[in-house]
Every structure is written in C-alpha cells, then in structure tokens.
C-alpha cells in the first residue's frame, strides 16, 4: 500500500513538473503594437558595462563563416555587444526555422532574408530612417534603397547585388568569332538566332536551359513582368491586373516575345534530349568545360565553378532579347537584383537590442573594415564608399559593367512574387518546355494561378 502511494506521488510530481514546463510559453508581442516588450529591466542604451546580446538569422548559408568572423571582430571593437549567429544550411527549411523562432517568441534581432520575407514580416520590422540609420541614406545607392522600400517604408538594408541573363563562355565564342565578338550586337531576337546558328554551325551546342522551376519560373518568367516598365510598380501593377482579371498574360506582347525567345532557347538547348533533368552540378560542369556556348543563369554560378578543376574563367553576359526592336526595354539590358536584405526586428527584441543592432549593421555595411568581409567573399555591394580597386570574377564584372552603363532591368517586382508563386508557375513553364502543354495552356495556367492568390 505504501509503495502504491509512493508511486502515485512520484507520478503526480512528474505530471505537475511537465505541465509547468509546458505552461511557460513565452509571451509573444503582437506585431506592430508594442516596440519594447517589458521584461528587460534596463532600457538605458548608454550604459557601457552591460553587454547586449543580439541574434542574427542568416539565410545566405554559403557565407555563415564570413558572418561569424565579422561578428567576432565586431565584438573585439565593441566588447559590450555580442552577436550570436543562427546559421541555416543550404536546402534546409530556412523559412520554417524563422517561423518557428517567431512562433516561440525567440525572434532574431537581425535577419538576412529574401525580399519576400521582408513583406511577410513587415509589421515586425524596424523602419530605417535618416535619424536611426543615417549611414544607409548617405552611402547606399538610391536604386538599392528603393529596392529595400516596401509599402513606402525602408525596411530592408541592401548588401549585395546579383544579376542574371544569358551567360556566354568567352573562350568558345571567341573561337567561333575569331575574337571579334561584340556582346552589344545581340539586341534583337533575330540577332540572337543568327548568333546561335553561327555557333551551332561550328559544331557546338549554342545554349543551355536549366530545367528547374526556380530558373524558368523564378527567373525567366519574371522577366515578362519586370520588363513591363522600368519602375517596380510597372511589374507589380501588371501582376495585380492579372489577379484582378482585367489583363490576360497572353495579351501582353512582352510575354509572347519572351516565349518566342524561349522557343529559340529550347530549340538550341544542350539538354534538349531530356530537358528536365535539372542537375545543377551537371549543367555547371558542362558549361564550365565549354560543352555549350551560353547558359541562362546568373553570376552565382561562379561560386559553384570555383571548386572545379580545369574550368574556363572568362565569361560575360548578353541580354535575353524579346523582340526585334533594339530600342525595346529589356533587349539591351541584363537583370540586376538585390537577392537578400538585412532587417531588424522590433516585435520581440528590446529597444536596447535593436538600437545596438542598428549600430552594428551600420558598421558591417558602411565601415571599410566591415565591408572588407563582404568584398573578400566576392560580393558586389551597392554602396558608394566601397573600395574601387577590387577585382571581381568575370561574371560579376560583366554585371557591374552593365550597371555602370545603366543597362539593367529592375527586378523589383520579384520581391512580390511570394509564397509558392515561382514553384507553381515554374512547374507550368517546365511543362511547356517539355512540350506537355502549349502556349495558350501555359498562359491559362499562369492566369489561373494569379487569380487564385488572395
């Protein structure tokens, strides 16, 4: 009897322990309501002897180490600020991790995230103003600041620029053209076709498409929105009118033009026997070894090439022309995009924390020592005070040349292509490339997708 009683007591103790543990869920501040949750005893940001602990959520998984070194150095300079990195892996569920951090009340102080996330989390973020972040407005390029502006507020600090278009292998193209190739001559679809035919005549497959939904949906199809006009609102307005049902995508000559060009790319595709294999390493290897002359991809391809042996190092970009009028917007430009933004959370971090975060971010992005970390990792930073004596890889150099001539497509609307948009429309694009649907069915599918999104 005594034993039974004891065991019941033990069980009761365990149960009560478990329930108190379960019950202690941290209070999450409703977004947008309070800026500093009560709980931290000190709000005096001036006190020097108190250490402030910040957390940094990073989705640029390839440079986790770079951020770690940067934070260690920052801690040497400012011993009262400790920044802890929350790393994520490539292909790991990054969005899910961020969602769970916020759902459990442990929202990170900084976030380095995709533009779509900035929109999702906008109610939680600190707005950058000339008062709290003067460094941003003094040094960042105007277009980059505009890219980080969402709903009239600057919520994301830009830090790197990437670009995409039709990459070409200079060694191969120079072989065919005897070193006389001028990329600016490819400004119409006919010129592109002539270029492809000339290369094919030399026995080299002219181009390559990567048969993945992010490449064809996220990058190629997005061109048809972005090229509607140079302003971000031109692209988003076009999408909005498709959503509203007042516009059908197939009625846009730009869509039709890009699809004609896509047909051309499909015709000369190196992977045309099996276009949907979508093995990135395989495609990178084939392109780096000169098995085909051009590749619809961006300058991030370089990072994947560095590890290869005996690969070509000289590349350049040519635009993807959609019409036969060289004056049309998009025919002489390549895409320039701000793939990631730095944001600061105020919904679950104290005022002291986010003020310290603003200072740290200023140092990272505009102090020469902070910038050096990004430059060493090969990033092209959209800031006016960046050292000019840096030698970038050939792809980034080519993008920056287009940028210096003002020949870039503003991909601002890309930020608004959120959620499963590029997976779903990308899957339709893959069907089209594989010949499973025709162009009208593709257009219907895209229209239907946008109308189903609230």
């Amino acid at each position: 009897m005594k034993r039974v009683f004891m065991s019941m007591v033990i069980v009761l103790v365990i149960v009560s322990l478990m329930f108190t543990a379960c019950g202690k869920t941290p209070e999450t501040a409703a977004p947008g309501t309070s800026s500093s949750p009560s709980g931290s005893p000190s709000t005096d940001s001036g006190s020097k002897d108190k250490t402030v602990k910040l957390t940094y959520f990073n989705t640029s998984a390839e440079v986790n180490e770079m951020f770690e070194k940067m934070f260690a150095r920052y801690n040497e300079l400012f011993p009262n600020v400790v920044i802890e990195l929350i790393p994520t892996g490539i292909g790991e569920g990054q969005q899910e991790k961020l969602q769970s951090l916020f759902a459990s009340g442990n929202g990170p102080t900084f976030m380095n995230v995709d533009p779509a996330n900035v929109i999702e989390y906008q109610d939680r973020l600190v707005e950058f103003t000339k008062d709290n972040a003067p460094w941003l407005f003094e040094y960042a390029n105007e277009s980059a600041i505009e890219g980080g502006t969402f709903g009239g507020k600057v919520l994301g600090a830009p830090w790197s620029v990437q670009g995409y278009g039709l990459l070409y292998n200079k060694r191969i193209v120079d072989q065919v053209y005897n070193g006389q190739f001028d990329p600016t001559t490819i400004n119409t679809r006919d010129a592109l076709q002539a270029f492809f035919e000339k290369i094919e005549a030399a026995g080299i497959p002219a181009t390559m498409l990567h048969g993945a939904n992010w490449s064809l949906g996220g990058h190629y199809l997005t061109l048809t929105y972005a090229v509607q006009g140079p302003a971000t609102t031109d692209g988003t307005g076009f999408i909005d009118s498709i959503k509203a049902g007042t516009q059908k995508i197939e009625d846009s000559p730009i869509f039709q033009g890009y699809m004609d060009t896509l047909d051309l790319l499909v015709k000369y595709n190196y992977n045309k026997a099996d276009p949907l294999v979508a093995d990135f390493n395989h495609d990178i290897l084939a392109f780096a070894q000169g098995k085909c002359a051009t590749f619809f991809m961006g300058d991030w391809a370089w990072t994947s090439m560095v590890g290869l042996e005996n690969f070509d190092t000289e590349y350049g970009f040519i635009p993807v022309p959609w019409s036969n009028n060289p004056e049309d917007y998009g025919n002489t430009e390549v895409v320039m995009v701000l793939p990631k933004f730095q944001c600061i959370d105020k919904s679950q971090n104290t005022e002291e924390q986010y003020k310290a975060a603003l200072d740290a971010l200023g140092w990272m992005l505009t102090d020469p020592e902070g910038q050096q970390f990004f430059l060493d990792a090969g990033f092209y930073m959209p800031y006016k005070n960046v050292r000019t004596d840096i030698k970038y890889n050939s792809m980034t150099t080519s993008i920056s040349e287009y940028a210096s001539r003002g020949k870039t497509i503003n991909l601002g609307c890309f930020s608004y292509i959120t959620g499963d948009a590029w997976t779903e429309t990308g899957n339709l694009m893959l069907k089209y490339v594989a010949g499973a649907i025709n162009r009208q069915e593709l257009a219907d599918g895209i229209n239907n997708y946008w109308r189903s999104v609230k």
Binding site: V4, S7, V11, M18, Q99, F102, D123, A273, G419, T423
Partner: protein, 294 residues
C-alpha cells in the same frame, strides 16, 4: 473489501509501469495532435500572429484545392503498387532464403542493408543512378528507353519512386517473413508431407495460412509508411517533373510552409490522418479474419 484493496493495488501497479510512458505519450503525441485539430478551425499564421476562429472554412478550402485531390489519388496508386511489390518480393526472398541454400545468412544481411540507409541519402544515391548511371548505359548500349532519365517524365518518375521504395523495404519485410517461415511448427509441415501435400499446394494451404500474422504486420508497415512517405520523395524527385510527383505529405508541407496556408495544410494533414487510420484499421481487421490456429 479485499477485492477493493486488490483493484487499488492493480491501479497502483498500472500507474507505476504505464504512467511515465503514458505521460510522455500524452505530452508529445496526444496534446500536439489535439492542438493541431484545434488549429484547423482557425486562420493560424505564425508570421502575422493571427489565430481567429473560422469554423469549417479550412476543410471547405480542401475541396477547392484540386491539386490535393489529384496528388491524393497518385498517393493511393503509389501506396497500392509499393505495397504489392514490396510484399511480393519480400515473400519470395524469404521463401528462397529459408530453403537452406548456401550463403543464406550473408544474403539475408545483404538484402536487409538498404533499410539501414536513411531515406534522404537513399534518394540522392538513386537520383544519381537514374539520372547519370542508367542514361550513360543507355548511350553506350544505344538503347533508346534508357537514354532519358526515369525522373523526367511524370508517370515514369512515380515508377522510379516505387522501385526505390521496394528496394528499401523489401529486405526489412523479408526479415519478418523469415521469422514467419521459421515459426511454422515442424509437426504441421511433416503432417502435410505425410498427407502428400507438395510444393505449391503445401505453400498455399499450409505455409501461407500459418503466416497471416506476418502478412498483417508487413501490410500495415508498407501501407502506413507509403501514405506518409516524405524523405524519399524529397530527395529523389522533390516533386519533379513539374510538380507531378508531390505525394500527399509533400503537398501538405508545401501548402503549409511555402504557400503559407498553415491552417489549410493542417486540415489536409488531418484528412490524411483519417484516411490512413481507416485504411490500416480495415486492412488489419480484414486480414485478421484469415488468421488460423495451428
């Protein structure tokens, strides 16, 4: 009085032994499950922080999600074929490996090995085999059907998934069937021999009926795992080509975390749970009927 004391003692013993696991089970399975059911009636969104009651709206939304329906049918096909072929192959292997052939111990562990490799790694290995090795063979033999990867055509990609599933689970089920074969009483088999039952007849009238418990457990394993297949799906096809091989679990995951419709995804998960529960309970009840006492 005595009986009351005894029942109290029994209850005490029950709590001592069952209590801890019951609490653990409640905390990590029952409570989250019930909370999950609760979430299906709200417009839960962890990013925006909303959790308002919306009634059955999420369940109604499932019916307008045509994709979920088609993927669900595809999942049923996948489960059906993988269950049939897994068990067929496992049974044949077990039959051969209990008929006293040489190297049977070595072969048993060999067939079991694929099950020790995790689904993700297995998926990547087979992806490489389908996309690179087989296509290479197709080119060197100049054999047209092998030249393109199995993974780039919607119907063939499902076939590829079934092949890998069979490869992964057949060895595991084989072990269960071997135990079933070994567990048949010698006297029964001898009696059958004396009565003149031979070969196939002995297999169908004596061996298989005595092994019904093994069939119950093996079918249960393949059916329930088939419905919930995710890791292999992710690593091998990730929905490719063009989203045609997203099985139910993957569709639910993408609905919740990529399309950011958490509550709808959760409602679909509950529907999947009910279907899996119904199918497996029916299967166990139906097969139990064939159980015989030796």
């Amino acid at each position: 009085m005595i009986s009351r004391k005894k029942s109290l003692k029994n209850a005490g013993l029950f709590i001592t032994f069952m209590g801890p696991s019951l609490i653990a089970f409640t905390c990590i399975l029952v409570i989250p499950f019930l909370y999950g059911v609760f979430l299906t009636f709200t417009n839960y969104n962890p990013v925006k922080g909303t959790k308002d009651f919306v009634g059955f709206a999420n369940f109604i939304a499932i019916f307008s999600d045509k994709e979920f329906m088609t993927q669900f049918l595809k999942t049923l096909l996948y489960v059906f074929y993988s269950t049939v072929f897994c068990n067929l192959l496992a049974f044949i292997l077990a039959y051969i490996l209990t008929s006293n052939i040489k190297t049977q111990n070595f072969l048993r562990s060999g067939f079991f090995t694929p099950n020790l490799i995790g689904g993700i790694i297995l998926g990547y290995i087979w992806k490489f085999i389908f996309a690179n090795v087989i296509t290479q063979l197709g080119h060197s033999w100049d054999f047209e059907p092998l030249k393109t990867s199995l993974l780039t055509h919607p119907d063939r990609a499902i076939l590829a998934m079934i092949i890998v599933t069979v490869w992964q689970y057949a060895g595991y089920l084989m072990m269960i069937y071997i135990a079933g074969f070994v567990g048949i009483k010698k006297e029964v088999l001898e009696a059958a021999d004396i009565d003149g039952a031979k070969g196939m007849k002995k297999l169908f009238y004596i061996t298989i009926p005595s092994m019904v418990p093994s069939f119950i457990i093996c079918f249960f394993i393949t059916i329930s795992r088939g419905f919930m297949a995710y890791d292999l799906n992710l690593a091998l096809t990730n929905g490719a080509p063009y989203g045609s091989t997203r099985l139910a679990s993957m569709h639910i995951y993408q609905k919740a975390f990529q399309a950011n419709q958490y509550a709808v995804g959760q409602a679909e998960a509950i529907v999947l749970f009910i279907v899996v529960a119904l199918v497996t309970v029916t299967q166990v009840m139906l097969t139990k009927k064939y159980e015989v006492e030796a």
